[in-house]
Amino acid sequence: MSVLSVQDLKVHYRTDRGVAQAVRGASFEVPEGQVVGVVGESGCGKTTLARAIMGVMPKTASIAGGKLLFDGVDLVSLSPKDLAARRWRDIAFIPQSAMNSLDPVYRVGTQIAEILIERGGMDKASAKRRAVELFDMVGLDAGRLRDFPHQYSGGMRQRAAIAMALALEPKLVIADEPVTALDVIIQRQVLDTFKDLQSRLGLSVILITHDISVVAYASDRVVVMYAGEVIEAGATAEVLKRPFHPYTMGLYKAFPELHGDGGTLVPIEGTPPNLIHPPSACAFADRCPFVEQRCREVHPPLEPVESGSLAACLRSGEADRLRVLAGEASTWLR
């Protein structure tokens, strides 16, 4: 049973040079109690996707099509008022930089209480008890509730942000690069706390990151995005073990510590396409080492492949052979 079903979602931005199609018909499911990692380079549309689901977008952005079915209700069709009433109770958000996401002039405890009182309908005393409970859950000392955000360390801020997200017991949590700003050791600690809470509370989570090692460590399922489209999706273990899309293979190659074979770090050369005039065929064609003429003519559909995942590549049938080639650093250097 899915908590959230994203169906053919399209998000457009107005810019000085025209309309940018940031998300171009993305579809995926978030099964109940599971962590879905959404991974891709910056500008692939993953953060836009997250903000579209939250229903809080910049003035220049709008949903141009598709559905966001949450518990059977299409969030896209709701009025702003109904949407505001559901926010944080149904879906909460953990931001990338908790420093900028906390109001600098209020104590952290006050900011948690604000949610509990204004959105949770609690009185002051029970809000205070709940705040202590939440801090306890995320491993923070309750005495720190009286501190201001700037008095926290980076890791503490992310923990506070997690506490805030869990305040109203939401069904779904969207975490946008929740540990990117932290150093590796703290990343691991915060992720462990988060994973532990997720399984204990049976939370559904969308984990947005550019770091495939975070996806490997913390997610059950993975959605790979490129140029506003989903190009591969499936169970994390399966997709990482047997990627079917050359982009996923390359992304995987860019994080060698993951498979521990000590292979050289090879970034994928080139840049994603211009989304004001996106290509009608395969968007990855210009950077793909295995590109063929038909890749520039036909748009590859997102189809089931033999591993049970979904992939959008015309050459997915040859994936086993291509995967071996993709393992060679020379394949990616042109």
């Binding site: 939250m54 809080v56 505001a84 009433a85 559901r86 926010r87 944080w88 109770r89 909460a92 958000f93 931001p95 930089s97 900028n100 996401s101 906390l102 109001d103 600098p104 002039v105 604000e114 949610i115 204004e118 959105r119 501190d147 201001f148 700037h150 008095q151 926290y152 360390s153």
Partner: protein, 328 residues
């Protein structure tokens, strides 16, 4: 702690600035053409008065001795005797100061309450016709000389319509039990309204534009986006989060504004014959009442420099990032 040592250094700087300005003032009045006596002794004084002042300020001694005496007297609040009022300068200045503060605070309060609200509104209505028309109007009010605004107001509302008195702080012939009773009387308020509006018209532009810019900046901050994601009410987002943060620099500007207005009120006080410090300075200079001019100038400087310090203090009190430095 870091915060308090910063304040102490600011305090030392404040005292340094006050001392320097007092010294410059001393030199200006001493290096003026004519005998140094002219700075303190009017030909209309009796020989006894003149003798006593000569001794108090060491006017027959060297420049250095005079300077030390001047600073010593200043620390005791002794600024000499006004030529015109024949009373100690300190006393005369304090009465005028009360009138000036009433005018300054009255106009600043009106200007800042109005400016902050309008500024927040303009930020909210960014890109609309309200903003397109409003901003040029605000810039025009800021470009208008305050005394000219005062003249127009006087011509229309006082002389034309007869709604307000034509000048002064109290009607002729009225007496009061104390200065406080005088300042809180209805008569005083009636006299205060027009000059306060003239000043407020000029002053409101600064808090308005400042508030608008700050609001626009704060509205782009992540924590405002987060507040929207949390489903908080528009009121909570705009007032509790955006405005509270945008107000920090405005509060500082208010404190600075007090210091600047006390000296800047000179012309408006003259237009409305308002018996304040500025008008007193102008009259003292025009009638060569040097001790009074010096006293009025020093008083205006002291308020300005003190308020510069208070603004600093206020900022560190209002911003927890400075007030609560420590802890990690």
């Amino acid at each position: 702690m870091q915060g308090s040592s910063r304040l102490i250094s600011r305090l030392i700087l404040t005292l340094f600035v006050l001392w320097t300005v007092a010294t410059i003032l001393f030199l200006i009045f001493r290096l003026m053409p004519g005998s140094p006596l002219a700075a303190f002794v009017s030909p209309t004084f009796t020989p006894e008065q003149a003798d006593s002042l000569r001794r108090q300020f060491g006017l027959d001694k060297s420049l250095l001795d005079q300077y030390l005496l001047f600073i010593g007297n200043l620390l005791q609040g002794n600024l000499g005797e006004s030529f015109f009022y024949k009373r100690p300068v300190g006393e005369v200045v304090m009465t005028a100061f009360a009138n000036t503060i009433a005018l300054t605070m009255g106009s600043l309060l009106v200007a800042y309450v109005f400016g902050v609200l309008m500024g927040a509104m303009f930020a909210w209505k960014r890109g609309t016709a309200i903003e397109g028309v409003g901003i040029p109007i605000v810039l025009v009010t800021r470009a208008a000389p305050e005394f000219w605004l005062g003249m127009v107001l006087l011509a229309i509302f006082s002389f034309g319509l007869g709604w307000f008195p034509g000048g002064g702080a109290n009607s002729a012939g009225t007496t009061f039990s104390s200065d406080w009773a005088r300042i809180f009387s209805l008569d005083f308020l009636r006299h205060l309204i027009l000059p306060a509006i003239a000043l407020a018209l000029y002053l409101q532009g600064l808090p308005l534009l400042l508030m608008r810019t700050n609001m626009l900046e704060v509205m782009q901050e992540d924590f405002v986006t987060m507040a929207r994601m949390k489903g908080l009410s528009t009121w909570a987002i705009v007032i509790r989060h955006a405005a509270r943060n945008a107000l920090l620099p405005v509060a500082t500007a208010f404190a600075l504004g007090i210091g600047q207005s006390v000296g800047g009120n000179v012309v408006v006080e003259t237009v409305f014959s308002w018996p304040g410090l500025g008008r007193m300075l102008v009259e003292a200079v025009a009638s060569s009442d040097y001790p009074l001019a010096q006293g009025a100038f020093l008083m205006i400087t002291t308020v300005l420099v003190t308020m510069n310090f208070v603004a600093d203090l206020l900022y560190s009190l209002l911003d927890p990032r400075i007030a609560h430095a420590g802890h990690r």
